[in-house]
Amino acid sequence: MQLSTLWRQSSAFRMGVSISIATGLYGISFGALGVAAGLSVWQTCALSLLMFTGGSQFAFVGVVAGGGAGVAALGAASLLGVRNAVYGMQMAALLGPKGLARLLSAQLTIDESAATALGQADKTEQQRGFWTAGVGVYVLWNLFTAAGALLGNALGDPSRWGLDGAAVAAFLGLLWPRLKGREPIALAVAAAAVAMLAVPMVPPGIPILIAAVLGGVWGYCTRSSGQAPRAAGGAA
């Protein structure tokens, strides 16, 4: 099918393309923050090519920027990636890819591709939505990461340009859509408070992992009394 026909006939394709552009563009902020944190241009690009899950990538460079150890950066990124396993389960049930397609779709399983697929009613549209958003975000996210990393490198001293402020805004922007209802807000406040209390007591990076443990225990112990945290794009 031609792309123009696909554009006219498939709402999943249109949604996938728009989400790719919107998400891909902010790869530029990730690229700039990666080099501002102290990673090289290639390391920053490698994160987008290989890790390819925005939240975890931001977490990784967030810990690097704060002077945290490698193991803390790895821990924060890995814990933030846990939700991708939930998306993976949903995509396996929804799309049922086999062999090579399964290996490829695993790499492309992120918030955006899962959400686009889950938003469709029939099987063909779910497939189109997943692959359009997955491939689209992958290509653009990586292009704009490279652009941002090169730009960040050229800018020099990161704090002069307010790049540390950009990191703050980026994390708040990632958190914001998840703060629907009283419970997630209470959890966010508690997690931030616990992390700050831990700052003078433990090495950099570790307060973030302590907050993660709090979040995990919170999710395990709370009953889904009405406002459960919106976990997986309207999953469960």
Binding site: V82, N84, A85, A166, V168, A170, A188, A231
Partner: protein, 111 residues
């Protein structure tokens, strides 16, 4: 951060970049492998959701107030406030990030 420090920390980060990327992929692939009935266990989704919120909240707070092992108030607080206002007004992500950078750069310029 000066160029010397950047070069020093540069090399050892490769190991962590690659290791963390391998774990990220394994996590995604793991999801495709677990039995579908696990999907119906809402506790799994709740844990993943709460983890995400707690981590992002902690990352926001750390990037605003932490400086090594100290808590400080500096130009980054302006970024937090401006970003919160922009998000309340439903500004797109990229605009929020640019405004955050502008806020902390402007405060530093003044002080």
């Amino acid at each position: 951060m000066n160029t010397e420090t950047v070069a020093q920390i540069g090399a050892h980060w490769w190991l962590w970049v690659l290791l963390a990327s391998a774990i990220a992929y394994a996590t995604k692939l793991l999801g495709y492998g677990v039995p579908a009935r696990w999907l119906h266990h809402p506790r799994m989704a709740r844990v993943a959701g709460s983890l995400t919120i707690a981590l992002l909240a902690a990352l926001t707070a750390m990037n605003t107030f932490a400086s090594g092992q100290q808590l400080v108030l500096d130009a980054r607080l302006a970024a937090l406030v401006v970003a919160a206002i922009a998000l309340t007004l439903r500004a797109p992500f990229l605009v929020v990030v640019v405004l955050g950078a502008g806020a902390s750069a402007a405060v530093r310029w003044w002080m």
